[in-house]
């Protein structure tokens, strides 16, 4: 399973006075089982890009191939793409509507025509994946849950459709540190279990560095950088230019380097920074 995007261009409000070029000539490949992090400041086109991958938006120009299907082909059945690509929007808890958690999670699979008994097995499975107790929450109203729990139910609702590609738009936005951490752990757990492609947007550089195999940087509707977290976060100046930063640990190492202290290149994670500092202090 892989994704190829070629020459993708999208214009919002075409023909209207306030039309704007939202995506400009985007090209990239995503390979099997990759976790891809997308960064870029607000309005850089991240959400627009994600909605194209799910077929919710149609490009002005360009093609998107998911697996063996060109989903941008005219008359491509949307149901097939929804089955393959699951998209979790920002603040997904606002999409909950059913009387019970279980029914809400069943909404997606039912729409896809999954058989009833398979749906119930799947509900148990995904609730476990998002670390919620089936017996405790399944028959509760989703509106009785806490913010973090609601979000996990909403994510479970998309997971229940067994997508081979899972897209999450700022999955940790507006959560407290504890819920934040548990969502990240959940993403990793889902990835290990489902062996799917995961694409996620975040403003937290540390999360991006820790989770992703590949990082894509967007700026003003263009894809400006693609690479491993190490490659991307080695270019602090360029990131700063477009209003982004490196993870806190890398930032510390950069600052020490600026102050004239010899430090190695390519330090991204907390562990690497710790190691680097330890080595330096020992040599001294």
């Amino acid at each position: 399973m892989s994704i190829q995007v070629r020459n993708l261009t999208h214009i919002y409000g075409k023909g209207q006075p306030d039309s704007q070029l939202a995506l400009e000539n985007i090209n990239f490949d995503i390979y099997d089982e990759e976790i891809v992090g997308i960064i870029g400041h607000t309005g850089s086109g991240k959400s627009t890009l994600l909605q194209h991958l799910n077929g919710l938006l149609k490009p002005e120009e360009g093609t998107i191939v998911v697996g063996n299907d060109e989903i941008t082909a005219p008359n491509f059945p949307m149901r097939n793409i929804r089955k393959k690509v699951g998209l979790v929007f920002q603040y997904p808890e606002y999409q909950l509507f059913e009387e019970t958690v279980a029914l809400d999670i069943a909404f997606g699979p039912k729409n896809l025509g999954m058989p009833e008994d398979e749906i119930w097995d799947r509900i148990k499975e995904v609730l476990e994946m998002v670390d919620l107790d089936y017996d405790e929450v399944a028959d509760k109203s989703p509106f009785e849950l806490s913010g973090g729990q609601k979000r996990r139910v909403a994510i479970a609702g998309v997971l229940a459709m067994k997508p081979q590609v899972l897209i999450l738009d700022e999955p940790t936005a507006g959560l407290d540190p504890k819920a934040h951490k548990s969502i990240l752990e959940m993403i990793q757990r889902v990835h290990e279990k489902e062996k799917n492609i995961i694409i996620f947007v975040s403003h937290n550089m540390e999360d991006i560095a820790n989770l992703s195999d590949k990082v894509m940087v967007m700026d003003c509707g263009k894809l400006v950088m693609v690479g491993t977290p190490k490659e991307i976060f080695a270019q602090r100046d360029r990131l700063n230019q477009i209003g982004l930063n490196v993870p806190p640990a890398a930032d510390l190492i950069y600052k020490l380097k600026d102050a004239g202290i010899p430090m190695a290149d390519g330090v991204v994670s907390m562990e690497e920074a710790e190691e680097e500092l330890y080595n330096y202090l020992r040599k001294k």
Binding site: G15, L87, F89, F97, N111, L112
Partner: protein, 266 residues
């Protein structure tokens, strides 16, 4: 898509029509509507249509944008047109079994269609060229005399401006929820009426919840800024009639005179 709704949406541009005082514009629009109903033949529409064309040209709102506002009423337009063609007796032009098309029917149908189109363009020009907030300010001022009868004009105007202000927000919200449910495989476009009505539940429930949430937050934010109703409130931008406002008013009254004369003498 849902974003295409233009009725009652503001078109940002710099024009004389945009700058005319909202009170004058509201009265002018009402007057124009009255004139459309005074007119009883096609010659009268030349006057009204001419005035309309002048206003549209001066407003700098593109014609395509205005036409898009007509789309939602296209069905009603066709319906009345067809109804009028077949329902009115007179000189028969074409006769097919029990269906007959008469000259009078055709004329009435065309007449009604023109009236409807001018009516919609006229009233949407008001909202195209006036920001909702300014519009409600105008309404509040116009209703001010009713205060003497204990009508809470400020509160009514505030409710209207909040309602108007949140139309785009709610449209955006609806769009977002629709997309989220579509991503979960929801289908809003196929099926019979019952299935389609049922398909709305996943949109309506979250929409109502977020609307209540927005209302609650807004009430709190207003209270935090010491809002306590209309008594004693002054305005940052007091409305003042300018020369152009008098010109517009005179123009519309003139048109009214012409239309009445046309009806009596031509």
């Amino acid at each position: 898509m849902i974003r295409d709704i233009t009725l009652g949406q503001y078109y940002a541009a710099e024009s004389v029509v945009h700058r005319v005082d909202p009170r004058v514009k509201i009265i002018a629009t009402l007057l124009f509507i009255a004139e459309l109903f005074i007119v009883d033949d096609f010659k009268g529409f030349i006057l009204c249509g001419g005035a309309m064309a002048l206003a549209v040209a001066a407003s700098k709102v593109p014609l395509g944008f205005i036409m898009r506002g007509l789309k939602p009423i296209l069905f009603i337009l066709m319906f009345t047109f067809v109804l009028n063609i077949f329902m009115i007796d007179g000189h028969i032009l074409v006769k097919l079994w029990f269906i007959k098309i008469t000259k009078e029917g055709l004329l009435t149908a065309a007449f009604m269609a023109i009236r409807l189109i001018l009516l919609i363009i006229g009233s949407s020009l008001l909202t195209f060229t006036t920001k909702p907030i300014i519009l409600t300010d105008g309404i509040e001022k116009l209703l001010a005399p009713l205060k003497a009868f204990k009508v809470p004009t400020h509160e009514i105007a505030m409710m209207m401006s909040i309602a108007l202000r949140f139309i785009p927000t709610l449209i955006e919200e609806t769009d977002k929820i629709m997309k989220a449910q579509q991503a979960r495989g929801a289908d809003f476009e196929s099926g019979n009426i019952m299935q389609r009505a049922k398909a709305l539940i996943p949109i309506l429930v979250p929409l109502f919840i977020s609307a209540f949430q927005i209302a609650q937050d807004l009430a709190m934010a207003m209270e935090a800024r010491c809002y306590r109703g209309g008594t004693g409130r002054t305005r940052m931008h007091a409305m003042k009639l300018m020369r152009r406002d008098y010109f517009v008013a005179i123009g519309l009254v003139l048109l009214l005179g012409l239309v009445i004369l046309e009806r009596i003498y031509l």
